[in-house]
Symmetry: none
Subunit: 220 residues, 4 copies
C-alpha cells in the first residue's frame, strides 16, 4: 500500500493531482503490475481506488490513456531526470574507477530502483504490445541517456579504464546485465533466497571484466 503511494507521490510530485486522481493512479499501478494491463479491469481499479467507475473516465478517456498516463511520465521523468541526474551527480563525485560508478548506480540506489520496480514491470510487460510506447521509449533513451552515457564511457576510456569498444556496446552490455539481474532477482524469482551483497559484487566484477581494461580486472 505504502509502496504504491510512494511511487505515485514521487512520480507525480509536480502535477497537482486531486486526491481521487492519486488514488486512481495508485490503484492502477498496483493492479497493472500485479496482474498485467489486459487482465486488469477498470472496475477493479475503481473499487481499489474507492472511486466510482465514471470518475476514472472523467480523468482518463480510455483505459489505455490511463496506462500511458502512468508509463509516459515514468519514462520521461525517471529516464530523463532521475537516472540522468543521478549520472551527473555521480559524475561530479568523480568516481575514480568505473566499477565504483557501477557499484554506486546499483548499490547505493538499489532501493530506488526497487521502488520503481512495479513500473518497470509494467513497461516491460507492455512495451512489446504498444508500438507508440516502444517509439517513445527508444526516443527517450537515444535523446537523453545516450549522450550522457557515451560521455561518461568516453571519459573512462580516455583515462584508460575501459576497453576501447564502441560505447554503445559497452552501455548495452552494462545495462543488460544490470536490468537482467534485477529482473531475475525481483520479478522472475523474488521468492528465492538471494545474497544481495555478494551477488552485486560478483555482477560488477563480471561486468568490469567484460568491459574494463586489464588493469582493473579482478581475479577471484
Amino acid at each position: 500500500m505504502e509502496r504504491f503511494e510512494l511511487i505515485v507521490q514521487t512520480l507525480f510530485e509536480s502535477n497537482n493531482l486531486t486526491e481521487k486522481q492519486r488514488q486512481i493512479l495508485k490503484a492502477a499501478v498496483q493492479l497493472f503490475s500485479e496482474k498485467g494491463y489486459a487482465a486488469t479491469s477498470t472496475s477493479e481499479i475503481a473499487k481499489l481506488a474507492q472511486v466510482a467507475e465514471g470518475t476514472i473516465f472523467r480523468h482518463y478517456r480510455t483505459k489505455k490513456e490511463l496506462l500511458l498516463a502512468i508509463v509516459g511520465p515514468f519514462m520521461e521523468k525517471i529516464a530523463d531526470s532521475y537516472i540522468v541526474n543521478d549520472l551527473t551527480n555521480l559524475l561530479k563525485k568523480d568516481y575514480q574507477r568505473p566499477e565504483d560508478l557501477l557499484s554506486a548506480i546499483i548499490e547505493n540506489r538499489r532501493d530506488i530502483i526497487v521502488q520503481f520496480l512495479p513500473l518497470l514491470k509494467i513497461i516491460l510487460q507492455e512495451l512489446p504490445f504498444h508500438p507508440e510506447l516502444r517509439e517513445h521509449f527508444l526516443q527517450l533513451i537515444s535523446d537523453n541517456m545516450y549522450h550522457r552515457v557515451v560521455e561518461v564511457i568516453n571519459d573512462y576510456q580516455q583515462k584508460g579504464m575501459l576497453k576501447k569498444l564502441p560505447p554503445t556496446a559497452i552501455a548495452k552490455f552494462a545495462i543488460t546485465n544490470i536490468l537482467g539481474h534485477l529482473f531475475t532477482r525481483y520479478v522472475l524469482f523474488p521468492h528465492l533466497e538471494w545474497d544481495d551483497v555478494r551477488d552485486t559484487e560478483q555482477l560488477i566484477q563480471l561486468i568490469m571484466n567484460g568491459i574494463g581494461n586489464s588493469d582493473s580486472k579482478v581475479e577471484s
Copy 2:
C-alpha cells in the same frame, strides 16, 4: 504463418495431433505471442484456426489449459531435450575454448533460438502471473540444465580456461547476456537495424572477458 506451423510441428512432433488441434495450437501460439495471453480471446483463436469455438474447448477445457498445453511441452521438451542434447553434442565436439562453445550455442543455432522466440516471448510474459508456471520452470532448470551446465563449466575451469568463479554465477552471467541480447534484439526492438555477426562477436567477447581466464581474453 509458415513460422507458427513450424513451431507446432517441431514442438508436438511426437504427439499425434489432429489437423484441428494443430490449427488451434498454431493460432494460439501466434496470438498469444503477438497480443499477450490475456488480450487474446478464444473467439479470435477459433477464427484464426478456422475451427468452431466449441472445438477449442473440446481439446482444452479452459483457456488457461490451452496456454499450459503450449508452454508446458515447450519448457519440457526444449529445456530438457533440445538444449541439453545440444550441450551434450557440443561437448562431444570438444570445443577447445569456451568462446567456441558459446559461439556455437548462439551462432550455429540462432535460427532455432529465433524459431522458438514466440514461445519464449509467451513464457516471459506469463511467468510473472502464473506461479505454477514459475515453479515448473524453475524445477526444469534446476533438475535438468543446472548439472549439465555446471559440468561443462567445471571442465573448462579445470582446463584453466574459465575463471574460478562459482559455476552458478558464470552460468547466470552467460545466460543473462545471451537471453538479454536476444530479447533486446528480437522482442524489444526487432525493427532496429542490427549487424548480427558483429554484435554476436562482440557479445561473446564481452562475456568471455567477464568469465574467461586472461589467456583467452581478447583485446579489441
Copy 3:
C-alpha cells in the same frame, strides 16, 4: 402483464426500486413461473424487461441472486407479515368456529392467494434444488407461523371445537389440503372446469371432519 406488475408492486412496495429494477423483477417472476428457473435465460429476462442484459447483473450479481431476490422477500414478507397478520386479524374477528376461520382464509382471500400463485409455483419448483432456500423456508415457518398457528389451534381445542390431536399434525393436515387443492386447481390443471364455491365448501367440510370435534362435524 398486469398480473406480474401487481405481484412486484405488492411484494416490493417498501423497497424503492428503480423502474428498470421493477421491470427486471416482473419479467423474472413471469418467466421463472412460466418456464422454470433453469429453463429461463438471463437474455430472455432482459428482452422481456426491455433492459440491457448487463443491467440485470448490475442489480443482481448472479442469476441465482435474482431468484433469491424474488423468493426471499416473498417468503419473508408473505409468510411473515401477510399470513400472520391475516391470522391475527382473522382471530380478532373471533371466528366462532374453526371452519369459519378456514373458510375466511381460503375464500375471502382466494384472490390474494391466487395473485401470488406464480411465486408459490416458483418456490415449489425450486425448493427441492436449493438447500439454502429449504433451510430459509423451514426457519421462517417454524419461527413465525408455527407459534401463531399452534396458538389458534390450541384456542379452538380448549373451546372443544378441535380434536385433541397434536397441533402440528392438525396444522400440517390443514395446510396440505389447502395447498394441495390450490396446487391441483391452479397449477396442475387450471384448464379444467372447476366449481370453486362447491369445491371449497367440500374441502372445508372434509378438513373439518378430519380435525373437528363431533359436534361441529357436518354430514352431507
Copy 4:
C-alpha cells in the same frame, strides 16, 4: 446406484433394452430427479451412463424424447398396471374397513412408492411445463384409475363405511393427502426426522375422519 438400477429394471422389464440403453435411462432418471430436467445436460448423462454422447441421440432423437421415454412408460405402466392391479388385489382381499385399505395402500407398499419417488419427482417437476405430458397424465387417470377408484369407493359407501360425498371428492381428498404427505416427507424435507409409523397412523385417522362414517371415526 442400486436404487436407479431397480427403477429402470422394474419399469422397462418388458422392453428388451441393450445394456447401454439401460445405463442411459438409469443415469437420466437419477440426474433428472436430482437436478431437474432443464438443469441436466446430455453430456452429464452420457458421462454418468458411461456411454458416448452420440449414443444417447442414437436412441432418443432429442433430450425431450429421452424425458418422455422415461415419464411416459412410468405413467402408463405404473398408473395403469401397478396401482390398478394393486387396487384390484387389495379389493380381492376384501378389506373390511376403508382405513385398512388406505393403510394397506400406504403402509404395505411404502417401499414401492418410495422406490418410484424419483420418477414422481420428475413428473411433478415437469408436468407444469409440458402440456402434452399433462394431457397424457389426465387421460391416464381418468381412463384407468377413475373408474376403479370410484368402484371401490361406491362399494364402501354402500356398506355405509364412507360418507355419501361425491366419489370424486373423496378420491381427490384421499390422494391429495397421501401424495401431499409423501411429497412433504420425501421431497421437500427428507432430512427432517420423521416418525413414519405414527405419522401414517395419524394421516389415515385424519383422512378417515374426513371421509369415513361416524361409526368408523377414531377419536384420539
